[in-house]
């Protein structure tokens, strides 16, 4: 199962070791870990609550992974995204990609994160000294995802 949504923390080293275990064709691993910060939009963040749409979230992530496989020469992909209550310094998300060469792994890892941020149904709610607030979607995330669209990106 290349996609997991869970409340518990993950061990990125152990997950990556398992992902490439015994496969001599893997020449590259690219991984991204997203981490909860203590400041957002100028406010101190005490806790972060992550909500998701069970069922659709997994389906959306699996579709993003399938699209990455279609665009690049990948060996395997793992996506783990946490839900529930998190605190600053907690890990939120892991994307790990294995391939024969680094170019495919780097590109696919960034693509998966850009699409995850704009297409997978997760929502963050922050607790700040001023109270709780839902995190607003950012235009910069739409722009990042948009980089992968169009004729040039499809060649990859």
């Amino acid at each position: 199962m290349p996609v997991r949504v869970q409340s518990q923390d993950f061990d990125a080293g152990a997950e990556i070791a398992r992902l490439r275990e015994g496969d001599p064709k893997v020449g590259a691993v690219a991984a991204f870990i997203g981490i909860a910060r203590d400041v957002n939009d100028g406010e101190t963040v005490a806790t972060l609550a992550l909500e998701h749409y069970p069922g659709m979230t997994e389906k959306a992530l699996e579709r993003i992974v399938a699209e990455a496989h279609a665009r690049w020469r990948l060996i395997d992909v793992l996506v783990i995204h946490r839900v529930g209550e998190l605190r600053p310094t907690d890990q939120i998300v892991l994307v790990a990609v294995t391939s024969a060469h680094r170019g495919d792994a780097f590109a696919a890892c960034e693509f998966i994160m850009d699409y995850l941020k704009t297409r997978a149904p997760f929502w963050k709610k922050e607790s700040t000294p001023q109270g709780q607030r839902w995190v607003e979607a950012r235009d910069s995330d739409d722009q990042a995802a948009g980089r992968w669209q169009g004729p040039k990106a499809d060649v990859g």
């Binding site: 997203g34 992550l50 909500e51 998701h52 749409y53 069922g55 659709m56 389906k59 959306a60 995204h81 939120i92 998300v93 994160m113 995850l116 941020k117 704009t118 297409r119 997978a120 149904p121 997760f122 929502w123 963050k124 709610k125 839902w134 995190v135 607003e136 979607a137």
Partner: protein, 84 residues
């Protein structure tokens, strides 16, 4: 009957996570269903009115205003996503 789901800010503002709804006569698309909910007035109008950033999924796939809605479908309304 369709199952209608609300997530995140929409769920809180509407005070509703889920409801089973008999599709009124003539309601066959996402846009028509949204307009039906808006016609309830109050928070429904404020939260779901045109121009608000609302995303819709039908049977767990992202939908457009013209996407068909039929009995047995699961229709979800939610704000733009903020994961990762």
């Amino acid at each position: 009957m369709v199952k209608v789901l609300f997530f995140a800010r929409l769920r809180e503002d509407l005070g509703c996570a889920e409801e089973d709804l008999d599709l009124p006569q003539g309601v066959t698309t996402v846009a028509a269903l949204q307009a039906h909910l808006v016609s309830r007035g109050g928070a429904w109008k404020d939260v779901l009115a045109q121009g608000r950033a609302v995303r819709v999924a039908v049977n767990q796939d992202m939908a457009q205003p013209g996407t068909p809605v039929k009995p047995g479908d699961e229709v979800a309304f939610f704000p733009p996503v903020t994961g990762g």
